[in-house]
């Protein structure tokens, strides 16, 4: 028997970046917000001994406990889906701040092209550039409409950068803080890419170049370049994260209450409204119903989609008929790149998660695709994130992977190896989707989310083309041996690739092809909002958090407006 609690204005499922932004904005507007967080409380004081590669990077101390909940995976519909039993391809977060605690901080605005990708592709290359199997669609919002929200997120985060990217969308104001320090390794990349006719610029960073106070009065410290960002929390409070920005902002209002160890298992619905959520206190096992005027799903891509599916809200996508919107347009990324072995030693162990330089010349539609067998591209970067010794054992081609020769080569090359890497965009395909697993359940008896995904020809062609370009850059940088990334075949969930999963709860201009409108309000229930990278109709050649942050600020505006006036916001 579930205990029914007092009704609140807003309940969010998860308290990371999106939950924090919704809570901060709504609580400032006087609404009573409850955040349900399945993980634990944590803050900067928990990260004083975080320089521990084994505990945090190898054993995933800050990540989701997969014994409680995971996903199942198959490459295609004829394969039996099996649980992702160990963390691998992507790193799901858990606890206050979510994945926003252990991110690297590379923070982009998607390109104007991304938001209108279908119309712009058709216009420039005709309707048959990609086959009908690719479910390309516009996002129902333009870059210009989203710009004020990008601006707001960047000011909250105190982003460090320089406005030198000729391909970026127009900015209403400069980056809040200057770019990070340009290291000798980055300068090598800058010189090489300039020589090749590209335009390098400093990567927009949420590891701040200097101390900063954001418009909400929250302080973020200056980065120390200690080299422990991704998979780690920041002991200095120098990496922008929800628990040092939006969450304290929300708490200061007195209108925000976080309940930890609260795992939501269902969104309650009555007619065309949601009424609240059911959650389990994971410490006592007790069930609660939290009624709310507005429910906001602010957990990760996978869990947002799963909660809608188990609650029977919206129509499940069916790959046979291509009908239904929930679970469709799941996309990931491909990572073309090249490794270079150098003679000289470099300070590769120093760095920061978003210390880097980038070129956008081969991203989006910034180059002509008329004679190419793919669309879009990727941002190509040299990042200096701080390489760590367990995970980084670079060996030249044809070196054995263990034994005497391995030991010598991996030790010698540790400080003499660089990577040019790319975040390659991924287009939605009719066979790539999310649904509910019929067999496997989580620790609370709720079905696991099932992922059906494989790389497509578009991915393979893009990967091959960009890999060649990155090899040329590495050669120009002066590497004595260049090792291009291997061609991609089937998607493999085992090796870590990127935590940039998108789609499944996509936004759009019409309920026919999307789950939420451009305020992220659910088409089937006015008082339900779904926020996160699940809203992306395809995946771009960048890290997603900047665009997620902008969408969350827009959703917050929508929620406040809905709370006053009700009804559909579009």
């Amino acid at each position: 028997m579930a205990t029914t609690l007092d009704k609140v204005d807003i309940v969010t499922v998860g308290v990371g970046w999106t939950g924090g932004i919704i809570a901060a904005e709504c609580a400032k507007a006087g609404l009573k917000v409850v955040g349900l967080e399945r993980g634990k409380d944590r803050n900067t004081a928990d990260f004083l001994m975080v320089h521990d590669e084994y505990r945090y990077a190898m054993r995933y101390d800050l990540m989701q406990d997969l014994s409680k909940e995971t996903i199942t995976f198959r490459n295609h519909r004829k394969m039996r889906a099996l649980p992702m039993r160990q963390m691998g391809s992507f790193l799901l977060g858990e606890g206050l701040g979510g994945a926003g605690t252990h991110w690297n901080g590379q923070t982009w605005r998607f390109l104007p092209y991304d938001f209108e990708i279908k119309s712009m592709t058709d216009k420039k290359y005709g309707k048959n550039k990609l086959s009908a199997d690719y479910q390309l669609q516009d996002w129902g919002i333009t870059y210009d409409e989203l710009e004020p929200y990008f601006d707001k997120f960047e000011k909250t985060a105190g982003l460090s950068g320089e406005d030198k990217n000729p391909f970026a969308g127009k900015r209403s104001s400069p980056y809040p803080t200057p770019a990070m320090k340009k290291t000798p390794i980055l300068k090598k990349f800058e010189t090489a890419t300039s020589n090749l006719g590209y335009t390098p610029f400093m990567l927009p960073s949420a590891n701040l170049s200097e101390a900063y106070t954001n418009p909400d009065g929250e302080s973020i410290a200056g980065c120390q370049y200690c080299g422990f960002c991704e998979r780690f929390g920041c002991e200095y409070g120098a990496k922008t994260s929800p628990e040092i920005t939006v969450i304290p902002t929300a708490r200061k209002t007195g209108n925000f209450d976080i309940r930890f160890h609260a795992n939501v298992v269902e969104v309650m619905k009555q007619g065309d409204k949601v009424t609240g959520v059911k959650y389990i206190d994971t410490q006592t096992g007790e069930e609660y119903i939290q009624p709310a005027e507005v429910v906001v799903l602010t957990s990760y891509v996978m869990n947002n989609a799963k909660l809608l599916m188990v609650s029977g809200i919206g129509e499940q996508y069916n790959p046979e008929t291509q009908k239904g919107t929930l679970g469709k347009n799941y996309a990931y990324q491909v990572l073309p790149g090249a490794t270079g072995f150098f003679d000289e030693q470099m300070n590769v162990f120093m760095g920061a998660g978003s210390l880097g330089m980038t070129i956008d010349d081969l991203n989006g539609d910034n180059f002509d695709h008329s004679d190419l067998d793919f669309i879009h591209g990727g941002s190509i970067s040299m990042t200096q994130t701080g390489t760590r010794p367990i995970q980084t054992n670079p060996i030249p081609p044809d070196t054995p992977t263990w034994g005497a020769e391995f030991k010598k080569a991996s030790i010698y090359n540790y400080t003499r190896t660089l990577n040019v890497s790319t975040e390659g965009a991924s287009m939605p395909h009719k066979e790539n989707f999310m649904s509910l697993d019929p067999d496997y359940k989580d620790a609370y008896g709720v079905p696991l989310l099932q992922l059906t995904y494989n790389f497509t020809d578009q991915d393979r062609n893009l990967h091959k083309y960009i890999t060649e370009k990155t090899s040329a850059i590495m050669k120009e940088m002066g590497a004595k041996t260049v090792m291009p990334g291997s061609p991609i075949t089937n998607y493999d969930i085992v090796p870590y690739q990127t935590t940039h999963n998108t789609g499944g709860t996509i936004m759009g201009a019409s309920p026919d092809n999307s789950v939420v409108n451009n305020y992220l309000q659910h088409w089937n229930a006015d008082n339900l909002f779904v926020v996160g990278a699940g809203n992306f109709a395809h995946n771009s050649g960048y890290n997603p958090t900047g665009t997620v942050g902008a969408l969350a600020y827009r959703a917050a505006e929508g929620i406040i407006s809905y709370s006053k006036n009700g009804g559909s916001l579009v």
Binding site: M49, H51, D52, E53, Y54, M58, R59, Y60, D65, L66, S67, E69, F73, R74, N75, M79, R80, L82, P83, M84, R85, Q86, M87, K181, K182, T183, P184, C223, Q224, Y225, C226, G227, E344, Q345, N347, F349, M350, G351, R388, P389, I390, N393, T401, W402, G403, A404, F406, K407, K408, I411, Y414, T415, D439, Y440, K441, N490, Y491, D492, I493, V494
Partner: protein, 252 residues
């Protein structure tokens, strides 16, 4: 004299328990098969430099096995990881770095019991792209792996694994790597990957986990460990060498 006695009796102990033939290393201390990494000045690395009553450094063995109960299995582990990461002119190998103890300790904890992994059934082998699908925990896989390595040694060379020549050990490890050895509930290829990965983890993890003794693996690789900041050197064109620091150097 006292030290000699201590050493000899310890060596006798090692012999009689079938652990290994100890060898006398500087200062009269024993550097056993899987024992200590002994620094030139005769201090056992990683034990805090304890001094005896006469002011001489003494070996303090505050390490013990937390998982393995069968020394023969532990010794197979030690020799196998040493082949993966051998001692050479750069510095110690897996044994000198304490990797066998690291792995033993990890197998006794969350890592060995797969505490943070989804271990609910049903279990199916699946495709390689779907990853780990065994009902076995890592601890169970490691124990089976040690037993199978010894059986392979006996089958191929009529000897215990630890008595083989290096080349012969490599042949067996390679057979596991190539998935040519039968194991139950897991492939030998998967076990090999686990073994290799655990070896690197033990070599390069912070010494607080009982591997990377004396931070010697970090020294070889010129990784500085736990430095609080690089802001003063991040723009330096020259390679900067640091004396590495362990997390244990932080004030608690």
């Amino acid at each position: 004299m006292t030290e000699d006695k201590k050493g000899l009796s310890r060596r006798d102990f090692l012999k009689t328990t079938g652990i290994a033939t100890g060898a006398l290393v500087g200062g009269g201390l024993i550097g056993g098969l899987v024992g200590y990494n002994v620094k030139k000045e005769g201090q056992v690395a990683g034990t805090g430099g304890h001094k005896g009553a006469d002011g001489e450094p003494v070996a303090v063995n505050n390490r013990g096995l937390m998982f393995f109960t069968n020394m023969a299995e532990f010794n197979v582990l030690a020799q196998a990881v040493e082949r993966i990461f051998p001692e050479d002119d750069l510095g110690p190998g897996a044994i000198g770095l304490g990797v066998p103890y690291f792995i033993d300790n990890q197998l006794a904890g969350n890592y060995g019991s797969n505490v943070k992994e989804y271990m609910q059934g049903p279990f199916f082998a699946g495709e390689s792209t779907q990853g780990y699908q065994s009902r076995l925990t890592r601890a169970e896989i490691f124990r089976q792996g040690m037993v199978r390595m010894d059986e392979e040694a006996k089958g191929r060379f009529e000897k215990n694994f630890v008595d083989l020549e290096g080349q012969q050990m490599d042949e067996i490890i390679t057979a596991f790597q190539k998935n040519e050895v039968d194991m139950k509930g897991v492939s030998s290829e998967f076990f090999f990957k686990l073994l290799r990965q655990a070896t690197l983890e033990g070599a390069y993890a912070d010494p607080i986990y009982n591997g990377n003794v004396n931070m010697d693996a970090w020294r070889m690789k010129e990784f500085p460990g736990n430095q609080m900041t690089y802001i003063a050197e991040i723009e330096n064109d020259q390679f900067v060498k640091y004396e590495p620091k362990s997390l244990s150097s932080m004030e608690h």
